[in-house]
Amino acid sequence: MFVLKVKKQEEIFELINNKKTFVFICEGCNEIFLYREEITKFLDSLSKENIIDTKIVDYICNPEYIKNYFEIFKKTIDLSDIILIFSCGVGVQTANKISNLPVYTGCDTLHIPGYKGVETVADENYDCILCGNCYLNYTANICPLTSCPKELLNGPCGGAKNGKCEIDNKKDCSWEKIFEKLKKYNNFEKIKNEILTRKF
């Protein structure tokens, strides 16, 4: 899953640059993570002449739907110079493929750890980055790639103090956790035998 951050106002002002703008706000999956207040605040701060129309739609990342929206709002889109989209990156890229006008985005897309498909416990220690070679068997089912800020595969960096990570004091050192769990299972054989290297 992801969360959207509205870009800095000056940056969008510069893009619009007094051109006539058509605004799409996508309310599909980011439904769960609201950012609407910020957008309305920003749109209010623009002069009304600049904004031709604002439409709230959903799932513009689906090419069929966005084609449909372009047809429905054809009248007002034809009057505009640019299209401003508040959505994730996929939505903007899909709209760009269909539109004849320049498409700009007003958002940055951020990754939420632990969310993929269905909601899980949102936890930075608990995530999958789809790396393609799973190490969970050797590291007591704790992923060092997502839970260690340095993504170390061959053991702790040595910077941990009292079991806490040197990058974030509130975070436990994941390699210490792995060691403790392996001790519990009494299973050091695998990690001794296999040298973990990441294949890029």
Partner: protein
Amino acid sequence: MNLNFAKFDLKPEQELKFLLKKKDDLILIVCSKCFVNYTSEEVSQSCKPVFEIFKRLNKKIKKCIELNFLCSTYINKEKILEIINKYERYEICVFSCGLGIQNIAKLIEKEIVAISNSIQPKYSYNSETLHHGISLDNDKFCATCGECFLNYTSGICPIVECPKSLLNGPCGGAKNAKCEVDKEKDCVWIKIYNILKEKNYKTNSKVLIRKYNNLLFEENKKLIEKNLAIRVKDFCGGVYPQENKNITQNISTEKFLSPQIVKIFLSQHIGKPSIPLVKIGDYVFLGQKIAKSDGFLSANIHSSVSGKVIDIKEIFHPIAKKNLPAIVIENDNKELKDYKIKPKNNWKNLNKQKILEIIFEKGIVGLGGAMFPTHVKLSSNKKIDTLIINASECEPYINVDNRTILENTKEIIEGINIIKFLLDIKNTIFAIEDNKIEAIEKLRSILPKEIKIEVLKTKYPQGAEKILIKKLLNLKIPKNKIPLEYGILVHNISTVYLIYKAVVEGIPFIERTVTIAGDEEIKKKYGNYIIKIGTPIDFIVKNSFNENFNLEKFLLKFSGYIMGVELKTLDTAIIKGCNSILGLIKKNNYSLYNKCIKCGRCVDVCPMELEPLEFVFSYQENKMDNLERLNMKNCIECGCCEYICPSKIYIVEIIKQLKNRF
């Protein structure tokens, strides 16, 4: 080996051999995958190579268990624990993406064997690319890098599409506009250059640099935490639709115009339809009983105008979705009241039996949506401990409860007292959502101390009975049981007001508050109106929406934005359970037979912890045998799944049809 998995791939045989050394008896847990078209053979087909390899390695698989969405703790926790207890001495192999493996590892105190590698969706070169699961042939990705460059690169993302993730232009290795890493791929930077030229984009004045520093990490973390805090965690699922309550929030209730004719259905409630007491040609007074209750679960119906009965005929019923008999009365606009309407100034002189009789006689039904006859609820023999007054109006647009609280606070308190007197209830909880600030303030100043006010965070479908109880009292009511059996009574705030009106003022249920709202484009006059039961829909449409409105282009929603039904004809009328008429821009692409892509969003938002995608699958493939196992009867038809569905399938309609067939 490349299986057709969306997110994971089987590990090579050699590695598996090493992993499963000395482990012979195995249990295999398979995730039935997300982001693939849902077909029947899918799982068994893709498991075949696993079985083949295990056979070659001489491993015995005791049992292979398939579960949907292993990454979800909500729906799979109990199932996983059950399996693990049952097969304690076996080794557990998990075939899923990294999230599913970690999820199971977290639940149990035992080492598990992952037999899969999680892979990225096709065509992407970045480790954190998102496949948003919209349409599977979509080749657009987002790396969720947190600093979008699309504005300067003509809407093509170089981070995802360029194998080198270059931000400052082509690397120079492209030959004939083909990438040097992958010869079948076009060079992204050449594409970007062409589009920049063609579409007249704003050319970049800044140097694009990707920030990998910690500062961004901290900032992101804060933002994510802030967003997660918005999400109320107390019950599973739920959605946060755009509320749009401000359209009618500050408009005080007024009487709607009196229609020329009214069409009063004989089925205004759950249960048996009423029996008509009038004939064609009879003159009826305002508030006269025109149909009587037929049996235990039924209610009386009264005329909402004075005039002549001109017809008793079948008209399209909006909720039942078929033609049902209705009494048609011509309004003479004299408003001559029936002799039975007499105010009783002091209800405290009446005994319990008498009050119940009045409530039954005046035809009061619950306004929470189910239209359950109120006297049935109030005459229960069970001991009731807690009364919950439900004012959490979580549907968008609607302001009926909100306005009722603001305008009739004293009457509501009196109504609560009547219910408390009837059933000797001590505890009363007033549940209200935090978006009704004015109403909360007013209640705090007026409500007596023994009534507790619970301010809830806004989330749909909070107003549903069972969910409200779970939230307020932390009590889970099983399927096929009603809250009354647990000593809990839930009443909608508008019903309480009606009880007051019936008992004290002697007015039967002949009119109710309805919010009329919708899109700005078709606005004529929106607001909260007291509308007579039986007012024809075409009369309301004529007076509330302007000439742009037509059923082809716009959607007319009857009784709610999410839960409401779409009206396809104007030849119908207001019934007792209708709280709103909404005119909206039509939703596109919806169908009963759209393909499910198994994104799992419906599972994510379902407040009853069901798997709506399984119902869709059963319906489309006509396989009814596993519906019992999936607890379909638990479904409250809240519409969250349909609201969030990216494939735009009419899930609620499917569930309703399946329930009928069952």
